[in-house]
């Protein structure tokens, strides 16, 4: 479902923490409808790369063009652009003092200026899609990990974003709950949602990824279609990595 319309264009992205270079110049393009799966060893910079895309980490060099705007420009109101870039975290980060429904409607009501009724009915539709409509009035601490992550995904969807960023969405889950979260993500991918996913789920990468990217030591070491990527890896570090995880 990939189109030619470029949604995010990354040019020479660099990031260092206190002098330690984590990203050493990354160029990438995410087209509308892409499902980019980013893999790499721990400490390779893959999460940092993802977190730079919505400026949760401020890049120390390079540019990020989102829908044509350079969001690394300090004059740009990043908050407006973040509304269009949903993010799902490893630790879910639901708001524990708010109910599931309030978690979903807070953004639409306060930021998109929707009425409470409108936001509620849209939120209920989203909850039905992930099979959690009956938990609308529960608090996050009453849910299982898999339920929390499904709520976190629809919380991001409630803002009607143009792209969803997933930062290891299944890494904090018990094994039996990984499936339910991946199913939601697969459905979204098939519906044409543009996604960038940092994950260790190679099955997911193979099945729904339109492009798989291997980040190693702060640079993109290899990127290809899933078939080529897994069946015919070129980079020796990637070959080594795949032999360990597959």
């Amino acid at each position: 479902m990939t189109t030619n319309e470029v949604l995010i264009k990354v040019e020479g992205l660099e990031k260092s923490f206190d002098g330690v270079e984590v990203l050493k110049g990354i160029d990438a393009e995410i087209h509308k409808g892409d499902v980019i799966v980013i893999i790499g060893a721990s400490g390779s910079g893959k999460s940092t790369f993802l977190r730079c895309l919505n400026l949760l980490e401020e890049p120390t060099g390079g540019r990020i063009l989102f829908e044509g705007t350079d969001i690394t420009d300090p004059k740009v109101d990043i908050n407006l652009h973040r509304q269009k870039m949903g993010m799902v975290f490893q630790q879910f980060n639901l708001f524990p003092h708010k109910t599931v429904l309030q978690n979903l409607t807070l953004g639409p009501i306060k930021l998109l200026k929707k009425t409470k009724e409108e936001a509620n009915s849209e939120a209920m539709k989203l909850l039905e899609r992930v099979g959690l409509a009956d938990r609308a009035d529960a608090y996050p601490n009453q849910l299982s990990g898999g339920q929390k992550q499904r709520i976190a995904i629809v919380r991001a969807l409630a803002m009607n974003p143009d792209v969803l960023l997933f930062d290891e969405p299944t890494s904090a889950l018990d094994p039996e709950m990984v499936g339910e979260v991946l199913d939601v993500m697969k459905t979204l991918a098939k519906e044409g949602m543009t996604m960038a996913v940092v994950t260790h789920e190679m099955g997911f990468a193979r099945e729904v990824g339109t492009k798989v990217v291997f980040i190693d030591e702060g640079v993109i070491a290899e990127e290809n279609t899933p078939e080529e990527f897994f069946n015919n890896p070129q980079n020796p570090r990637l070959q080594d990595f795949l032999s360990k995880v597959l």
Binding site: N79, L80, N93, F95, K110, Y139, N141, A156
Partner: protein, 243 residues
């Protein structure tokens, strides 16, 4: 035996009934509550402002390399807050009270206003550190989740961080207000006719210490118990998202 009862009755009458002294105690209680109430409000407002300045500086400005104009303002405010905290926490509240009344209020001599201000300013320093600890106790992920939805720093604080921080520090905050209520008993140093001052006055008039002092102690105790009860209720209500 009879003698004991007679003298107790006489003491009771002279402490409470002669010259309508119970009314003096009552008005003393009123002044104690008045000072506590307004000092608590000043303390919360000051405390919140200082806590926000301090934690904004620590999470936002400290790590930045190029500072904007707003960042410089926060930096200056942070220094002012630090000086304030050092002075207020480093000196006794009675001394602060006397400085307020005899130096700053030298021309007006409004002792109740001086007491409200000095207890409020004093409490603000402690409330600030309590709330700051609450803000710092919130997981960084909460902040990131809110920012990733598109909320700015201010809205993130108001809707996400402060409500959770407040819940976490409520026991410590309640403790601070209990301390404040009892601390106002030194207001008599600047001739405020609060509960303790009036009781002591009655003791010096009647040469009878038992009834005025024990009554005063019991009144403070009851006030603290009432405060504790309502704080406990509030805590339970805020905790309903935890089960």
């Amino acid at each position: 035996m009879q003698e004991f009862f007679d003298s107790t009755r006489d003491n009771f009458i002279s402490t409470f009934l002669v010259e309508d002294r119970w009314q003096q105690l009552l008005s003393g209680l009123g002044i104690t509550l008045l000072i506590t109430f307004f000092a608590v409000i000043i303390g919360i407002i000051l405390g919140c402002l200082i806590a926000i300045v301090r934690s904004t500086y620590e999470t936002n400005v400290k790590t930045k390399k190029c500072l904007t104009f707003g960042d410089y303002i926060i930096k200056v405010l942070n220094v002012i807050c630090k000086i304030y905290l050092t002075i207020i926490r480093g000196t006794p509240v009675v001394v602060q009270l006397m400085i307020m009344y005899f130096i700053i209020f030298a021309n007006s001599r409004d002792s109740i206003l001086a007491a409200i201000l000095s207890f409020g300013i004093n409490s603000g320093a402690y409330v600030a550190e309590i709330i700051r600890s609450g803000i710092m106790s919130i997981d960084k992920g909460q902040f990131e989740a809110s920012r990733s939805l598109g909320f700015n720093y201010k809205d993130t604080m108001i809707h996400i961080i402060l409500p959770q921080a407040f819940k976490n520090v409520l026991p410590a905050l309640g403790n601070e207000f209990i301390v404040l209520l009892k601390e106002t008993s030194v207001a008599g140093y600047v001739a405020v006719q609060d509960l303790t001052y009036v009781a002591n006055l009655i003791r010096s008039r009647t040469y009878e210490a038992f009834f005025p002092l024990i009554t005063t102690a019991v009144i403070y105790l009851v006030l603290v118990m009432i405060l504790t009860f309502f704080l406990g209720k509030l805590e339970r209500r805020l905790r309903n998202s935890d089960h």
